[in-house]
Symmetry: C3
Subunit: 333 residues, 3 copies
């Protein structure tokens, strides 16, 4: 495996093999497998799980890693092609990224959406421009519209807990004080569709996922026997749900318009997942969330502190599935 | 050993065994002892010695570590229970801490006192709330009222230099431009009392150590044959002293009142340890300080640059005793 | 080797041996050579290449490293002797540096020029004061007036690409929005002179390199058979050049005077290296730059994206030559 950028780049049996490898490494550690190998990690945006779990995963396999955080200990990096660099950024990614790639055996890059222009973010313009500069194995640590490590960890989490392949997976919009990127919702619906699930996107008006994201998920569902639809009706969505996957994202009807978005979401503080979302129609339903989550804003304490919540297992599985990705990428299986 | 949170959790012979192990690892390195083990380090506050020595210590034992600094490369973490998280913090410690614990074999946490409410700080409310969330071995990297790694390093330093077990240990308040936490003074008086020393706390009016701290030290002294008292009389305190342990801390009479504290300490700039503190009554007396120290503010150049100063050895011993803690915690002896 | 502070501390055959070792490690990795060894890295200034390549290099040799960035996760460090420390800095380098040295087997320090007083910067006052405090092997990661790791990487890069030992090396001033230190130009002219090259310093009026730097380079040239001169005439300088080494630096005629410098450089935005610098007189000439480089400000896209540019190889060679330095320093050959 040379690149781990999008779960959609893999066939279902390739994903199954990765998850099998993850389970094997979970039970039978191989502490010298990646001895002498170096992982470079570049974070254009904050991180907790990705930062800690990739360093830990490399070390558990006997390898090592370094972390670069542009603008913090390192110069700010310019990403615009052709820029006349007389501002704050001292270095261009066209120099910085290949240099870092030359110091390691695999590189991971995190670069969130700018959340200004939807077409630009959907096209992964920024991440793709950097990816083209890398001649080493490359991992997407979350780009404008994707988060494959999270998606793979979520898949394993549902397998671990026996959530049926054809169960109902409800991706529900949740309130957040400001607009967040579409990367996790896009990755989650695609993953659940690829797993063969009955996927429902529950979101208020103005927050529909873009057609590109929905059609990509639908085409995965077509191959796996799953389905994908969207609704603003909570009762309809949650009936018989196996999973509520809560996630905050920005308005797509006024994408990039912070004031317009704020006006829309100002009416939506009720979209905080509480116990009464579950009780009537989905007694065994679990709560998933990629974290970080704002307590009592996106999800209430009563849910996060209940046995319904499997967010800790999702986070732990980040470590496990990433070790499988690193292993397959750097050792070759 | 599952937890290293407070020297008071250990019997004297357990401390002796730890120091014995530290001396053994100092002379007979075991570079593969902790191969494959991962230490997670979480710093809510700045660090130099702790940050460098724990990473170095793990590596010297063949292990590895990762560092998380909330608010810097990582989201700010909320600590208040039940908070409605619509402010700056994107993640709660109730998620963040267990997640990080799941990525490592032992976790260290640094979280200084808030210095607002004395009872709250004395109760270690914040640190204990986080400690309850950790199901892995846990190390206190300095909490509101404790710093057991520093205390253990200080104990070894006095052993290394032949300071008598029943010698006089003077913890002296020293000037600093603003109020600092009580963690190190509390840990130092308890450690010296537990070691069996004649402990004198020398401090100006308004800076007495809280009764809880004094009585904990006195009860350690009762078991070890030492003693603990306090005074504002420098001549009395320093007569025959073996150690002046200089430390800056905030007023306890107006704890949490920055203006009141500033008014009190404004008169106390003379509490900078100088050569003339020693010459008359304690010619062989040594200077200890946990560092960082403000030169010519808390302690004068003439003292820090003289052979009296053993601050470098204290700092070096941080590495050595922490290796013993890690070894006992992760290898089990 | 105890110290790697200045290429001028070594004889030419010692440099050759280091480069030979670098080539050996490049083709025959020794992944356990420095097992159990710890490198401490202290960055008073930002870094990308140095930060990543030293961590990677230690790991590739089986060792480990820790990074300290004063003012970021760590207290600010005071450097002035005799300072009364009642300001922002909580710790003095007189404590901090020896403490960090006691936690590792070799220490690297980066401390840029203050760019206020030329004599002070030329004397390396700040770096030397810190170096005196270190009793472990020490590496200069860029000081006020030197950057030996960059110089060694540049030397290897020219060897790799068959640039003749007696070829013409033109260090050309390039535009930058503000004054930068003299470390890289000083190190580059000395390195090229020591390599035996025909060195020409091309710079506008007001930006002549200080006599100390020129005479040091000339004395290296005298021993190697090279030569060193300066000019403001681009056509003269570039005739027959093998290398244009572009670099931005501050005015030396008004050193430390930001306004005076800004006025001078405001007229010099034309000093951006473009294709037409090459075509007429030096068709095979290569572009070197230590990076970071501001595109279309110091060097145009058309040059950086052309085969003339060897900046990536220079950056990659940082890793390779530093592994040789670490190997010789920590293993002894």
């Amino acid at each position: 495996m040379r690149r781990f950028l999008d779960l959609a780049d893999f066939e279902r049996d390739e994903v199954s093999a990765l998850l099998e490898l993850a389970r094997r490494l979970e039970t039978s550690p191989e502490p010298r497998a990646l001895a002498g190998k170096i992982l470079g990690l570049v974070f254009f945006n904050p991180s907790l799980r990705t930062l800690a779990s990739f360093q830990s995963g490399m070390a558990r396999l006997g390898g090592n890693s370094f972390v670069i955080t542009p603008g913090q200990g390192t110069w700010q990096l310019e990403t615009r092609l052709g820029a006349v660099m007389n501002g704050a950024a001292a270095e261009h990614v066209r120099e910085g990224i290949p240099v870092l790639a030359s110091y390691c055996d695999a590189l991971g890059i995190r670069a969130f959406a700018e959340c200004k222009d939807l077409a630009n973010d959907l096209a992964e313009t920024n991440f793709k421009a950097m990816a083209e500069l890398v001649d080493k194995p490359l991992i997407n640590l979350e780009s404008a519209i994707n988060h494959p490590c999270q998606a793979l960890a979520d898949w394993k989490t549902m397998d671990d807990l026996g959530v049926p392949r054809n169960g109902r997976f409800v991706l529900s919009w949740a309130y957040h004080p400001r607009a967040l990127p579409l990367a996790v919702p896009a990755a989650a619906v695609h993953m659940a569709a690829m797993r063969g699930m009955d996927v429902v996107v529950l979101r208020p008006e103005g927050f529909a996922l873009p057609p590109d994201i929905m059609s990509k998920a639908r085409s995965a569902a077509a191959r796996s026997g799953g389905s994908v639809r969207e609704t603003a009706d909570r009762g309809d969505a949650l009936a018989g749900a196996n999973i509520i996957y809560a996630k905050e994202w920005g308005s797509t009807s006024v994408y990039g318009d912070a004031q317009g978005d704020a006006k829309l979401r100002g009416e939506l503080t009720g979209w905080c997942v509480r116990n009464d979302w579950f009780t009537r129609t989905a007694p065994d339903c679990r709560l998933m969330h990629c974290l970080p989550v704002r307590r009592n804003t996106a999800v209430a304490d009563e849910v996060l502190d209940s046995p319904r919540s499997i967010v800790q297992r999702e986070a732990y599985n980040r470590l496990v599935v990433q070790m499988a990705v690193l292993y397959q990428m750097l050792k070759g299986v």
